[in-house]
């Protein structure tokens, strides 16, 4: 199996974004995932969000682990550098990459196996560091690539394709993120393109770690009756908590949202993340209420949208007192302490 370049059919009339690119310019190689796989919808949503935000593709770094989900990165943004790392280790690789050059936009893609089992330590610590990246967890309740074993996100009572029933409690990445200090936590569904694109936009523009847990059904191994990560089950219990979208600095906010319900959060670039609460009692800046909402066992409801946001946490670059100028662009003469200092240093060694 080799990778196929997506055929480019240029449509003259295709709409262009602010930097003159069409949505197609954000494509990657052709997907080799199963037809109907939720992950492909996430790929499309990501490409759309980058297109809408007019981000130059080559100013993006896309990093992933291993799994069907982690292949996503090659299916979009062919002009961006990508790294398909090792299983469960996308967060550390992304962290180092970010340290080397804070001026790029970083997004990582992972799966529930990649993130919640083998890679759970790395994911937690990336959240703790508030590394400035979008982290998309394509969650299907199974290990797709190794043919359908339960993952750590499988719900109690969920039935595997071969009939076994899961009886261990699931790890909810959003609850996990809340407990370790992630600054942007959202949940969505590959079947809800509109919500997902907006959350991705907001997550990309949020300064700090932005987690989006995307329920993304595996049609080959976990889309049957009895599965709690199937399309059918997700549509049935899907509920929307808070809408979120990013509005660039220049755009008029009122046009899109009713002021009465909206809650703007001004970002460092002057843009805003606009939240629109569908449940008036819910406050996405309150960590403990967010936690009790998503861990409520009395309902099968899948709460989606922006679950939590805190824009006041310092991100990894700030914590490390980094300059705006990327580390990988500092000329050697500024890095070299010089001969005189070497002499000075050695005085203490005599």
């Amino acid at each position: 199996m080799t990778s196929f370049i997506k055929p480019r059919i240029s449509r003259k009339s295709a709409p262009k974004n602010k930097i003159g690119l069409t949505r197609q310019d954000y494509d990657g190689t052709m997907s080799t995932l199963c037809a109907g796989c939720g992950h492909d919808s996430v790929t499309a949503a990501l490409a759309r969000a980058f297109f809408e935000l007019s981000i130059k593709p080559h100013k993006v770094a896309k990093i992933s682990g291993i799994g069907c989900s982690s292949k996503t990165t090659s299916y979009l943004l062919k002009e961006a550098h990508g790294a398909n790392t090792v299983h469960g280790r996308m967060p550390s690789f992304a962290t180092g990459a970010m340290a080397a050059n804070t001026s790029l936009t970083y997004f990582g893609v992972s799966g529930d196996g990649d993130s919640l089992s083998i890679g759970i330590g790395q994911m937690i610590h990336a959240m703790r560091r508030n590394a400035n990246m979008l982290y998309v967890l394509e969650n299907n309740g199974v290990y797709g690539l190794t043919k359908g074993q339960f993952s750590a996100s499988a719900d109690i009572g969920s039935v595997a394709k071969k009939g076994t029933v899961n009886d261990q409690p699931p790890i909810d990445p959003c609850a996990l993120g809340l407990s370790v200090g992630a600054s942007f936590i959202a949940r969505s569904f590959s079947g809800d393109r509109e919500q997902l694109v907006k959350l991705i936009r907001a997550g990309l523009m949020h300064k700090g770690f932005a987690l989006i847990d995307v329920i993304s059904p595996c049609v080959s191994f976990n889309d049957h009756k009895g599965s709690t990560k199937s399309y059918e089950h997700t549509y049935k219990y899907y509920s929307k908590l808070v809408h979120a979208d990013y509005i660039p600095p220049a755009e008029e906010i009122k046009a899109a949202y009713d002021v009465g319900e909206s809650m703007p959060i001004v970002l460092h670039d002057g843009g805003e993340i606009i939240l629109r609460k569908l449940d008036p009692s819910y406050d996405p800046s309150d960590r403990s209420s967010a936690f009790s909402k998503i861990t409520n066992n009395n309902t099968k409801e899948i709460a989606t949208g922006l679950i939590y946001i805190n824009k006041n946490l310092s991100d990894m670059a700030e914590q490390n007192n980094l300059q705006e100028r990327p580390l990988n662009q500092i000329p050697y003469k500024e890095l070299n302490p010089g001969l005189d200092n070497l002499k000075e240093i050695q005085k203490s060694f005599r």
């Binding site: 199996m1 080799t2 990778s3 130059k56 593709p57 080559h58 100013k59 770094a61 990093i63 990165t73 090659s74 062919k78 002009e79 961006a80 550098h81 990508g82 790294a83 398909n84 790392t85 090792v86 280790r89 967060p91 550390s92 690789f93 992304a94 962290t95 180092g96 990459a97 970010m98 340290a99 080397a100 050059n101 001026s103 790029l104 330590g121 790395q122 937690i124 610590h125 560091r129 490390n320 007192n321 980094l322 300059q323 580390l327 990988n328 500092i330 050697y332 500024e334 890095l335 070299n336 302490p337 001969l339 200092n341 070497l342 240093i345 050695q346 060694f349 005599r350």
Partner: protein
Amino acid sequence: MTDNQSIKINDFVIKIGTVNGTGSASANELLMKAIFRMGVPVVGKNIFPSNIQGLPTWYEIRVTGEGHAGRSGDVNIMVSMNPESYERDLDSISIGGILIYDSTWPRPHFMNRADITVIGIPLSSLCNAEFEVARSRILMKNMAYVGAVAAIIGLDMSIIYNLINETFEKKRKLIPANIKAVGLGFNYIEENKLNNKKFLVKSLDRTSNKIMIDGNTAAGLGAVYAGATFGSWYPITPSTSLMDSFSKYCNLYRKHPKTNENLYCIIQAEDELSAAGMAMGAAWNGARAFTPTSGAGISLMSEFIGFAYYAEVGLVYFDIQRVGPSTGMPTRTQQCDINITAYASHGDTKHIVLYPADPGECFTMAAQAFDLAERFQTPVFFLSDLDIGMNDWMVDDLEWNENYEPDRGKIMTSKQLADIEEYSRYLDIDGDYIPYRTLPGTDPKGAYFLRGSGHNKYGKYTEISSEYKEVVDRLLLKWKSAAPFTPQPIISKSLKKTNYAVVAIGSSDGAVREACINLEKQGIYIDYMRIRSFPFADSVEDFIIDHDFVFIIEQNRDAQLMNLLLTETNAPREKLVSIKYYAGQPLDYKFVHDALFKEIMANQKNKKTA
């Protein structure tokens, strides 16, 4: 034997046994520095437990006017401050030596050894009489034995006072107490005429243009001078002080002059898997990146190391070896990671490994490691050990080439990309097995997808046999081609032509050199080759083939170096004789000497009977 004959000048060993956590380290260092400042070369070895407080610890100072670099294996003056180790300490003293102990609690059984001199000093009662606070009584006891030893070996007291002044420059209040404590020990020896003048230090001029430094400090400093900007790590003895050094000097010299922002980034990771991933991510993104660790960390990093090898990302792994397997003896030294660093990770992987022998080489080889990693776009291991990394060694002043520019290897710029039709990550355009890399964020045309899965020379995913093979075959050639660019072996020929040779790496060097000198005095001539890198230079094989008996000296149980030589060169098995020491202490020359002597004698006897 007259008194005069038994005087040893500038050639003896002082060993100090204390309890760890009692603050003796700085007193011992002061003693060693005082000797060093009298122009007399010294070798310092800290033999410490994996513990914070309460276990026996020793510090050994070899006074060596001739400037040997290793241990001698003798103990001539034993300062025994720890009742728990009295028995061991007593046993360790060489014939004719001196035992100094705290006679506040007399130990008559010490007198059982008639072949040594026992000097009891009531250190505790002296200090208790002078100092109020419990903690300072403990600390001042250390300074008091320094004073006693200074009197016995005839140190220049003004140097000691200067050192005390320098040490407490920022806490000047403490100076009088320390000077007083030194005086307590010194005066006790003088007043009671306990100085038998058997071991003396006499000023020389053999330490100018020399410094005392440990290898981790030197390597961390080397990373700063090499222009490394990113380091990730997870604490592990004996590598921790390497990152401490990098951090210290970055803090001093790597701040933006106006904004005080950092021109470097250090991240303490959650484990070594993550440390390896971070360093690799940073390297992929164009930073000079490294991670320091020890064997256990290399085990955890292995998956990432194979990824970096196959995807061709250059970064430096500092492995400061300690005794394995498993947790082993974390504060003892060994050369036990020769195998794992040569081939770390699953699948066919081979790495560049550098073997520094002392802190001076740690400084220069750290920079070389970065240059090699970026030039060959591959993991480079810097294989030091606890002995080099954590002990203070006397080495030549560190020198830095003013015109040094980092070798960043082949990075294709936007301008170069504009001139080509299409960019491919793994094409060997120049025929030197090294492809061009591009940095993320620089040019749309330069984008590529880094992957540890099968890829062809264009960087595209492949499962086609010939495409896969083409890439891994080039990787092997690339690795081999690095040999001439790595530090070459150092060959020391003996005075006469000989069939005997020894081969060693790293911290065995001092002991091996001294053993050879001693054997030469007895008419046994041996050539010596110190290998400094892997892949082995051609001269390694030539040297072995040129001799009939080649002794491979190394500090591990399984003869890892010998086996690596057998695997990677055409050295004939029958020529090689393995000599191994792996009990965890820094190698001493007597061990090497005796082992070589025995083997050579047996060989000569065989020859005669044959």
